[in-house]
Every structure is written in C-alpha cells, then in structure tokens.
C-alpha cells in the first residue's frame, strides 16, 4: 500500500482532494467524517440524501465520492447509476466507493452494475477505506459505456473468456485457431527479429 514512497515511508496527501460523503445515517456520517479527517482530508462535503448530494455535484467538482448504499428514498446503487448517466462532467466520471452493511439478495446485481469503482462492506475500518482510496487513485481502468452499463470496466484483469467458452466481446479471440492468412516467416526473417542489427550512421 504505497501512495508516495519517495521519502521512505509511504505517504498519502488528501489535503487538496475534493471529497463528497453521502450517508443518511448520522452515526454512519460521523464515522466516515472522522476517518477522513484522520487521513488529512480538509472539510469534505457532506450530504444526507440523494437530492442534497446531486445539488452539490452540480456545483462542485469532486475527486472522490463515498456513498452509502442505504440512502432512504433512493438507494446508493440507483444514485450512482443516475450520476454516471447524468453527463455532469467531470463528476459523472469521479471515482465512487459505495459503503454497505447487509446487501439484499435482490440488490447484488444492482451493486455490480451501478457503475461504482468499489463496494466496501461495513463495518468500516480506516485501514480498509484507505486501501480502497489508494487503489482507486492508482487505477487506470477505462470507462465503459453501453446500453446496460456505464462505469469503470468491471474486469480488473484481462484474462479472456473462461476455458472452453466463446467470448462475448468483439476483441475476444476465437476458440479455434484458423488458417494462416499470410505466408509463414522465413528463418532468416525470424533471426533478424531476434538479433537487432547495428544501423550505420
């Protein structure tokens, strides 16, 4: 877990980061606020509901959003899905970490497909939250936009389709290796590739 390892001890600097905390439960908000104050974040914005949060999102650019899955009138998953589709740049692309207690079975798919960067289970610990923040700060997953999903690529590793299964994506390779489309390279051509030649000046 290293954010800035140059000085020996890894460091993190959240002083200039614009952070939004969304939590409808007072104790939950206190817990999040205390954790981020400990991390050195300066006055994160707070919202106790989806409307209040969206109002802030329209006015302020955020570098990180933490959102509870339980927001009352609308759940955190719907809120994130709406944010991603809102076209409110740059906030619609802001990294979002959802924090949740128990997840209802009926909402597991929603949690996966809402477009959040991470879903973290409560009870929250400073160590886990900081690990996730650092991970989010390091990640370079592209944003995927299609009819059914808008958010960071849900594949953390590109390992291809499961063995024996046809891939669903246009860039997945076919199961069968087809006939060669061009003549085989000669041995000389292969040798030339493996032994770079000095170029005359």
């Amino acid at each position: 877990m290293a954010a800035t390892p140059s000085s020996g001890k890894p460091r993190i600097n959240l002083e200039a980061a614009s952070i939004l905390l969304i939590e409808s439960n007072q104790q939950g908000m206190d817990i999040l606020s205390q954790i981020f104050a400990g991390f050195g974040a300066r006055s994160p914005q707070r919202a106790s509901g989806a409307d209040e949060a969206m109002d802030l999102i329209r006015r302020i650019e955020f570098d990180l959003i933490l959102c509870s899955a339980e927001l009352g009138e609308i759940d955190g998953y719907d809120f994130v899905a709406n944010l991603r589709r809102s076209k409110l740049e740059p906030n619609c692309y802001a990294p979002v970490i959802i924090v949740t207690g128990h997840t209802q079975l009926s909402k597991v798919k929603k949690a996966r497909d809402c477009g959040a960067n991470f879903v973290v289970s409560k009870p929250l610990t400073p160590k886990i939250i900081l690990e996730r923040v650092i991970f989010v700060a390091k990640e370079s997953r592209p944003f995927i936009e299609c009819e059914t999903y808008l958010g960071p690529d849900r594949r953390f590793h590109s390992v291809g389709p499961p063995p024996g299964m046809e891939g669903r994506r246009s860039d997945d390779l076919p199961l069968e290796v087809g006939e060669a489309q061009t003549p085989n390279m000669s041995q000389d051509e292969i040798d030339a590739l493996l032994q770079p030649q000095r170029i005359a000046k």
């Binding site: 001890k9 959240l14 817990i31 207690g101 209802q104």
Partner: protein
C-alpha cells in the same frame, strides 16, 4: 450493441502524490484516534437503535407487516454499520444475520416468529457481553437458524 471505451484522467492520483500529507501508518492511526472520540456517542445511539428494534419486532411477529419488516431491516442494518467499528463485532454479526433473515422473509413473503425471537434475544445477550465460547455458540446458532429459511 455499441460499446464506448473512454480513458478518463484520474485527478485523485495526482493529488495523493503531492508533497505533504502524512505517512500511511500515521493516517490510519489518526483515523482510529478520531473514531475513539465518537465511540461513546455512537454506542449510546446503538443502544437506542436496539431499543427501537425491540419495539418494532413484536409488530412483525404478530402478522404480515411489510412496513415493520422493512423498518426492522433498516434498524438492524444500522447496527451492522456501527457495532463493528467500536469493538462490538459480535453484536454486528448477529444484526447481519437478522438482516439476512429479514431479507429471506421478505423474499418468501412469510415470517418465522421463533427465528425472529431468537435473533432479538441474542442481540440483547451479546450486547451485555458474554464469554468467547458462548458468543461463538450463539453466532453459529443464529447462522444455522437463518440458513433454514
């Protein structure tokens, strides 16, 4: 289906690497110290939530009351979020099991009064504090009860 892949600049990445800030170990320690400051207030709130749950649970036992079920689920989920942060992980795990049970009741459309009662009683006992062996026995029992529904 059209799929657009877009690389978005990660502004957070640049910010966290700026000079200054604090060592990661220090950041975690400071956050833990900050949580200690709100410990008493949060435990007080937790006890209040447990009291509210005791008032709502009988409504559910008496019949098919969706509103009471959702209210009890919400309260129990709040306990999940608070208890474990302040070394009351056993209470949090029992509350999680109750959430699981209530979710199953909601899905199936039927309520088991004994399963609900044993969860409520267990929450009260665990909050009072029990020896480790007893705690494990209770939590294993709750898990088994929930798994049956």
């Amino acid at each position: 289906m059209t799929v657009i892949r877009r690389m978005v600049p990660n502004r957070l990445a640049a910010l966290v690497r700026k000079p200054g800030g604090k060592p990661i170990a220090q950041a975690i320690a400071d956050a833990e110290t900050n949580l200690d400051e709100i410990r008493d207030a949060c435990i007080e709130a937790l006890d209040l939530i447990l009291e509210q749950m005791s008032e709502v649970a009988p409504k559910l036992r008496d019949g098919d009351d969706h509103e009471a079920l959702h209210e009890l689920y919400r309260l129990s989920n709040e306990v999940v979020g608070i208890a474990g942060v302040f070394n009351l992980g056993d209470v949090g795990r029992a509350a999680y099991s109750l959430c699981d049970l209530l979710d199953r009741f909601d899905t199936k459309g039927e309520v088991s009064a004994p399963a609900l009662l044993v969860h409520m009683d267990s929450l009260r006992l665990l909050r009072l504090g029990l020896p480790d062996g007893e705690v494990d026995r209770i939590l294993d029992g709750l898990q088994a009860v929930t798994a049956k529904h």
